[in-house]
Each structure stands twice: as structure tokens, then as C-alpha cells.
């Protein structure tokens, strides 16, 4: 099913594992060339299984997909020629240096000896590893390993880049540096980026569009703004100073909107007109003689989107599903 679509097209993709586990359960998505697509979900949701299928490392059980115009099941070699991938493990050889990694990757990708050295140096410079290039990778920090992984994925100038949880475990500074590089790749070089993440902020900051996956199914898709708009406006949460006032506070707030998720000590409503209602709320609570310990206006986040679509919060949602992603082929 070769197509002219230079991005990614997925139709009804399914992957099952032993024990009738549907790690990916019929997903459809489309990523335009040059777009950054954020694939957001908790651990075990099916993100890595999807990436493994799209990068041809794992045959799908059903459905079909094209990457860079090539069928992932029938034209694996063509797909691999057009993609770069930094998978979840940041699989590097601790006994080799950064430069040796680049040389190996470039050589296996078909570059000649002179081009290998030039390309390796160019990419090591770009990811800020030139000074550490001749040190063994065993001594690299997590951020350095991720950057080397990214450099290796770019060695053959792929048009599509798969990044599987590229910033998991990184400190904020390393994370931010990697975001900048990914953004530059998409903006300056026109690289299509398929990025999986369990970090809301990452999807929010980086992705042009986001697909939220839970238990193998895409539960929402759109730009971050669209997704947030879809679930309604801002929420306000009030925590009374006296816990006995909780019920009365709820009655007051009910006049301003529908009940929303809240902390155990507070009460929250989704505001129909947004922040402009805040002053009225404060006045109404004051009129009712309710002293407040805390009042917070909260704009919708992707976690709220996830909560609305799945009934669970993204944080911690994956723990119960983790077993589902064990790659034991059926």
C-alpha cells in the first residue's frame, strides 16, 4: 500500500500479545510531513508497541500503516531507510566511545569512511557532545546518552524521526535542551517527529497535535488547545478554612458551574464564563460567611483531558496497565 503521503498514516492497527493482551487495539491516526505529533499516555498504554510497529521492529497483528509512503508490513526495508528512531532504552554500548557509536551507525547506514567521520563530528557538535566524543559512553550522564541516541538516529538524515519517551529520567535542563533540538529539527529541517511521552508538559510544549492513548485505544486527538477547549473552560477550586463549611461552599459554587474534579478538602466547579466569574465567586462565598483557606483558578490541562476521557488521572494510571506492554508475541 505505498502511498504519496510522506508522513505517517495508520488504519486500524492492532497488536496482541500472549494471553489475549491487546497492547494496541485498533488505532487510526495521521501525521502530516513536518509535523510534531505527541503520543501521550501512561505506562503500558501501548505507546512503545505502536512505535515498534511503525519502525518495523514488530509486525502488526492486524490493520495497516504507511510511514514515508511505505507499508510497514511489506516494505520494511524502505521504511527503515527513511526513518530514524531513538527508542525507550537509549541502547548504547557502554564500552564504546560516542565517536565510535557514530562511526558504527553511519557505516551501517551506508555512509563511506570520509562521510562517516564528517557526519559523526557534525552531529556530535550539534548535540553538544564533541568534547565528550572520545570518552566511553559508560561514563556519560543520562542526558548525554539521550543526546547521543538522538544524534545516532539522525546520522542518515531521516525524514521521519521516532522518539520513544526521549526525556524520561532526565533533569529539567537536559529535557529543555532536547526539546529545543527536536523543535529545531521540525522547524528548520522539516523532519516529521512522532514523539511518545508520559509528560503532559512535553506534549503541550512540543507537539503540534496530540493523540492520547489509553489501554491500546486513542481516546482523544487534536491540538493541545483544541483538546483543552473540548472539555470546557477553567475550573475554580475553593478550600474552606473550616472543613465543616465544605457543603455550604459546594452549594455556593454550584451557582457558577458544573461540579469538577477536586482535592479531598475542597470543592470545584467548571466555570461557564471563565476567570471573569472569579470576583463574583469570592463575593458570594464572603456573603455566605465562608472563610477560605485557599482559592485556585485552574486552566484545563492535558491531564484534565485524560481524566475526562478515561475517568482516571494520567499520573499513576499506567501502573495498573504496565503488564500489558510485555512484548511476548502471540
Amino acid at each position: 500500500m505505498s502511498t504519496n503521503h510522506r508522513g505517517i498514516v495508520v488504519e486500524g492497527l492492532v497488536r496482541t500479545f500472549k494471553g489475549d493482551i491487546h497492547a494496541v487495539d485498533g488505532i487510526d491516526l495521521e501525521v502530516a510531513a513536518g509535523e510534531i505529533y505527541g503520543f501521550l499516555g501512561p505506562n503500558g498504554a501501548g505507546k512503545s508497541t505502536t512505535v515498534h510497529m511503525l519502525t518495523t521492529l514488530l509486525p502488526p497483528t492486524a490493520g495497516r500503516a504507511t510511514v514515508a509512503g511505505f507499508d510497514i508490513a511489506r516494505e520494511g526495508a524502505d521504511v527503515r531507510r527513511h526513518i530514524g528512531a531513538a527508542l525507550q532504552e537509549a541502547a548504547l554500548d557502554t564500552f564504546l566511545t560516542g565517536r565510535e557509536h557514530m562511526d558504527l551507525q553511519a557505516g551501517l547506514s551506508g555512509l563511506g569512511k570520509a562521510d562517516r567521520a564528517r557526519r559523526g563530528t557534525e552531529l556530535l557538535e550539534r548535540v553538544g557532545l564533541i568534547e565528550a566524543a572520545d570518552r566511553k559512553v559508560g561514563g556519560y550522564s543520562g542526558g548525554m546518552k539521550r543526546r547521543l541516541d538522538l544524534a545516532m538516529a539522525l546520522v542518515h538524515s531521516p525524514s521521519i524521526l521516532f522518539l520513544d519517551e526521549p526525556t524520561t529520567g532526565l533533569d529539567p535542563q537536559s529535557r529543555s535542551a532536547l526539546w529545543d533540538e527536536v523543535e529545531r529539527l521540525a522547524t528548520d529541517d522539516g523532519v516529521t517527529v512522532f514523539l511518545t511521552t508520559q509528560y503532559l508538559e512535553e506534549a503541550d510544549v512540543l507537539a503540534d497535535r496530540v493523540g492520547i492513548i489509553d489501554r491500546g485505544r486513542i481516546v482523544a486527538e487534536g491540538t493541545p488547545d483544541e483538546l483543552k477547549r473540548d472539555i470546557g473552560g477553567d475550573t475554580v477550586e475553593a478550600i474552606p478554612a473550616d472543613p465543616h463549611d465544605l457543603e455550604r461552599a459546594a452549594e455556593v459554587l454550584a451557582r457558577f458551574g458544573e461540579r469538577a474534579a477536586h482535592s479531598p478538602k475542597g470543592v470545584a466547579v467548571r466555570l461557564s464564563r471563565g476567570a471573569e466569574q472569579l470576583a463574583d465567586i469570592v463575593r458570594a462565598l464572603d456573603d455566605a460567611g465562608i472563610a477560605l483557606a485557599h482559592l485556585q483558578l485552574h486552566s484545563p490541562s492535558l491531564d484534565d483531558v485524560f481524566l475526562t476521557k478515561t475517568g482516571r488521572s494520567l499520573e499513576g494510571a499506567g501502573e495498573e496497565d504496565e503488564a500489558a506492554e510485555e512484548p511476548v508475541p502471540a
Binding site: 519502525t55 518495523t56 521492529l57 514488530l58 509486525p59 510497514i72 508490513a73 511489506r74 520494511g76 526495508a77 521504511v79 527503515r80 531507510r81 526513518i83 528512531a85 527508542l87 525507550q88 532504552e89 537509549a90 541502547a91 548504547l92 554500548d93 564500552f95 564504546l96 565510535e100 558504527l104 551507525q105 557505516g107 551501517l108 547506514s109 551506508g110 566511553k136 545516532m152 508475541p329
Partner: protein, 258 residues
Amino acid sequence: MTSVLDQVGLVARRSVRRTLRQPALIVPTIVFPLFLLAVNSSGLSAATDIPGFPASSYLDFAITVCFVQGAMFAAITAGTELATDVQSGFLNRLQLTPLTRLAILIGQMAGATTLALLGAVTYLAVGVIAGVDVKSGVGGAAVLIVYALFTAVAFSGIGATLGARTGSPEAVQGAFPLMFALFFLSSMSMPRELISIDWFRTVATWNPASYLIEGMRSLVITGWDGTALWRGVAIGAGILALSFWSASRALATRMART
């Protein structure tokens, strides 16, 4: 597009670099067989007094055991290195390149083969210094080294099969005692015809490892013995073919890329 030969070269270079940068792999491969040789040749030296014993020095008789043990270490190294690549995800990285399965398999053996070469040269050098008399001369010593490498590569196929199938370095290392037992139940310490326990002699006669050892040993204690060499090489070739076939199948299952 890189040729298969270039691919093998690239993977082999990485494999050799990795191996040579791990003293924990090199030291036991060299020290352990020599240590066992020292213990056996002093403890069992009286065996040369047994009528019909084919050598006047037990050191001459036992030196080839080092080469076989070196081959076993090479097999374990090949297996653990491949299993480590499966476990760490490095194999996935390799799969994303145009690299062929054959190139991975052959390239990955290079480190283990280098280890076996280092071992073989050291055993021979130490043996000669300690008084080993290689009856087949300098040419025979060279053949002995090549024979040891050939055995190491054949056994590395078994290690690679285990590594690819299990994806667990610990599981590969767990197979080491089994391989060791296989060699103990051979003519490793005593010529077959002089083994007095019937069942042991029968097992040693059926054990292909006996013929591998006897082929190697003939170069040291007999000279050029065509029959012993032919048998040993045939057994080695059989193991090589079977082990590479099974390793290739195991790797094909592991590399599920489309």
C-alpha cells in the same frame, strides 16, 4: 548501500573493541585453563606410568585441554554478548539499519574469536616455556592455533543460540557448567582406551568432544595423525554447521522486523 562484508567488518570491529575493553572477560579465559593445567599436570603426572599411556609428559598430554576450555569461554562470551545486546535494546538499534542477520551473527563472533586467539597463543607460549614438545613442529603449532579457533567458532554458535533464544546473559552463563560437564565426560584427562570404568569409557567414546580433543592432542603428542585430525575436524565442522544453523534460527525469531 554497505556490502555484507563491510557490515560484518563494522560489527566485528565493535565486537572486538568491546571484548578487549573488558579485562573481566580476558583474564579468566587466560588464567583459568592455565591454572587447571598446572594443577592437573602435577597431580596426574603419575598417569604417564600407566602402560600404554601415549605421552611421556602429562603436560604434553593435557595442554590441549586449555584450548578446549578457551573455546568454551569464547562460546560463553559470544552468547552473553549477544544476550546483552538483546536485553539492552542494542539489537533493535542494529535491526533499524540495513544490517543483515548473517552479518550480525558473524560479526558478533569476532570478539569471542579474538578472545580464543589471545588464549590459544598464550596457552601455547606458556606450554612451550614450561617444556611442552609439539611433535608436529612449528607447522603443527600453527595448525593447533587454527584448530583451536575453529573449535571456538563452532562452540560460539552454541553460545549465540542460547544468547539469541533467551536474551539473558545470566541464562547463557548458567549453561557453562553443562558444557564443562560435557568435556569432563570425554577423553580430556585420560585416553579413552585407558579409562577403566566401563560407563565412563562408553560415554567418552560417544562424546563428540573426545574427538575434538584427540585431534588437537595428536598434533602435540603424536605428530601428523591424519585419522585423528580428520575425525576432529569433521566433528568440529558438524558442530559448526548445527550451531550456526540454530543460532541463525534463534536470531530470526528474535529479529521480528518486517
